[in-house]
Amino acid sequence: MDFKEAARLGSYISKDYTEDLFRLLATYSSISASEAASRLDLHVKTVQDFLEAMFDLGFLDREEVYEKKRPYYRYTMKVNKIVMDLDLSPLFPSEGKNDQTSMRIREMKDSGARFTTARSDQYISNIAIWIGKGRERTERRINLSIPQGKFLFHLPFPSADFQSISSIMLKAEVDTSNTSEILDIVDALLEFRVVEQENNISSK
């Protein structure tokens, strides 16, 4: 199951009518949306959406039935157990991503970001970035973990030479086990144009 399916399942499972609908599906050999809605005193569209979602997720079967003038679906329970098996391994950084520590970066000139230094130690506790233009500008504040804060404390100034991420981490005494979160914050700051990369400058 991927994140989207899990989110869809979770959003329906969390409704207070879910258990009652599943009980109806277990009790009846087959049931339509209007029958279920009238039985539970719910809006037919609500039940329709639920049954369609459960069908898409593979928990129900449906059969098109022709009665009177309009065809409709009748739903049958296909499973007697629902297991949410969500694989998080695609979210973990791959080995290739950690090789990005050779990327050379520095703070971008006139980025407008405000770095707040922790009072007690040598690290940045949060960054405030202005996003948008004119009257629609909003401030986005990112709270940093301590390794991220130590890393950014040693980020080269806008007029200084570029330095590789690995050398900055060494200077900041940030352990290599924190590489993935360092790369994550660097990606975010590149996106917000607080940090610039050497290759982007030389290509201009």
Binding site: E107, S120, F153, H154, L155, F157, S159
Partner: protein, 268 residues
Amino acid sequence: MYFIRKLKSPKFGIELLAVIFALPALLIIMAYWGIRAAWGAIAIIEFLVVLMHLNMYFRTRNTSYLWLVAAFLMIVIFAIQISVFGMTKKDPESIPFTIATITAIFIIAFILFNKKIKWRTREILELVAMPVSETKNGFTERPLSIGKIDATPYEIKSFSLFLSKNMIAMTYRENGKTIFSLSSSYWKQNGLKRGYADESWVSFSDNGDVNVYISKNDYLLYRDTFSFDQICSNLGRLFKEFFDMYSKGEGIRILDKLNALNLNPITE
């Protein structure tokens, strides 16, 4: 020492403005209430100055402020003698009072022209910019980590006392570090406001970590957009050099280095 000035010319100090506004006020008081009332106003003003200098002595431990307290107290007493007791030049006590007041004025002039109470912020900013020729700007509000020094907390405390006594930096102690603040604003230079917010500073932590921060206001004092990272690095290196000199017992060489720039003791 001849060098190319990197800082803009100083603006009119608040002291000069205070004198410019005080003189007409005194003339008005004299015109309406007489000369004795004017001397009374002078006594009040100078007494406030006494209090200010006394505060500065306790903040910096610079003994020149005690001399100034004594000198200005003499002027206050002289003014009170004229204002309250109506002393004139024909009175026998006017001669010693006049001599004492003239002596007090000489003391004040000596202290001022010998830069005994001159904050050295401009000298420091000139020194750090001296080797910088690139104008890549690059201002940022982050502090810069310069590295480490080999110093015990006691040595740092002793050094901080030296810096504050010689008007090089106002020192603050917090969270395991000592902050040397380069006072720029009139209010902070005269002890009327505390704190190092919005000012440039160098910090020595108890672990020996050295960090540098240059404020936007101080960076804008430069004539051009000199490379900010070099300015910050130089400031950190300068303070490390000062610490080395002080540790070797050569604190006087720090003052020689600052005095060699020959900045105007009154306007700069």
